[in-house]
Symmetry: C2
Subunit: 281 residues, 2 copies
Amino acid sequence: MRVAVARRSGETRVVLSGPDGARVLPFHTLAEAFAAGVLDDPSRFDGEPIASDEDLDLAPVVMGAGKVLCVGHNYRQHILEMGHGLPDYPNVFSKFNDALVGPNDPIALSDDATLWDWEAELALVIRKPAHRISTDVAEEFIAGYTVANDISARDWQRRSSQWLLGKTFERTTPVGPWLVTSDELDLSAGLTITCHVDGVEKQRSSTADLLFGPAYLVAYLSQVITLQPGDVILTGTPGGVGAAREPQERLTPGQVVTTEISGIGRLHNVCVAPEYTSSDN
Amino acid sequence: MRVAVARRSGETRVVLSGPDGARVLPFHTLAEAFAAGVLDDPSRFDGEPIASDEDLDLAPVVMGAGKVLCVGHNYRQHILEMGHGLPDYPNVFSKFNDALVGPNDPIALSDDATLWDWEAELALVIRKPAHRISTDVAEEFIAGYTVANDISARDWQRRSSQWLLGKTFERTTPVGPWLVTSDELDLSAGLTITCHVDGVEKQRSSTADLLFGPAYLVAYLSQVITLQPGDVILTGTPGGVGAAREPQERLTPGQVVTTEISGIGRLHNVCVAPEYTSSDN
């Protein structure tokens, strides 16, 4: 099953896509749909059928998530090629919901930052409340997977020891297009993850190279705080980011970032210089 | 004017206290009350009068805040005594809403962490949306001030470069008791901030020693993301934390943490070892 969140008539609606086609459900967010039991028995839920997925105006699929958790340094090869040892614990930070944009939305490169960079990532979404669970049961708590790009302002990220501000500029993090439920994916075999900028490949790896996998991350984070339905975890990026290139590269307005994970989907986002109204200044 | 959020009959209600006594308003959160215009003209709002503030069961006054922002290393004397130079930029991280507890609630010291520490802090609350504003107008965007203690699990905080997990354990961060509106406080003179553990003074400073003051922080953060009504910023802690003592000190279940800022109020929280139900494990 695939689940998206589409913008329709000024609000958002959950869209379900299965073998029988796609239909629009009366829920605004994944959290609402999960609470109603959509994942348990989708056939119970009627909705307006739609002819084609293509025309949907997709919002970030995890829109309204209570928690957006992110992991740094989590692909083995990338850690080792950077000359680091493998860490004992995940390096976890967060971003605010207002940073998220839809899978085809513009990425707003604020002129307050200069070193904009890409970070293709596998993201997982929580299905039901998880508190102090163990890794061996953690997969039950994962609704499914989607694609994200943790676009980062490296100059702001490096202004202090904590990365938050470089990671949470408004309208910078595309997430989507669809949430693909766990039963449709075999992560153990590894999914190919890529990032292209203006059609040039910048990142290519396999999710099999993740040091801390989805189940481990869910269990680990659940020791600290209860993960809730609709919460999202961005699991980290492989090598090939602009800051690690020689010479360094950066994103600029007009460029197109394409982020893809095999079996899940593709983000296609144009970088723009946001226009601010006079009241903003 | 003073504003609190109290628990009444299974939900929360905003309580307003002014020269004419206190009354319970039909709002659940500060954000709702601010949106309705309570700060602009409190006399417009009727509510159930209450005889005494003393009997209120207070929730964290910023309960439901969309963003909980925190600043590290922000008291000049403390930075210098630690041998650091003064930083050019605020060091900003966040915590999740589920970390917050009321001003008299227990602090849950999870047995998954061992090095629990105190951090008395001045917190400010946002009054109206702030996006790319300048420092000289930022005070208009601050509703008022309250007290917080950014209780930290130092062992988790130090597991990786990012502090989030050590800062966001569930039910660890007391905030309150009341929000005191800006017109009732003169921060330029400096407010005395203290933290006592079991009656022994551990921290004492003045908010006049803040390197990055409230207006600067609001303007700075508004460059990255729109601050919304009810969002809260914890402005950092002065010297005297347990981790910086010789020998190091830590909090344990049974201890009482008292956090106070002159002119604002006092938090009184007992540390407990949380009991987890079997379904949690």
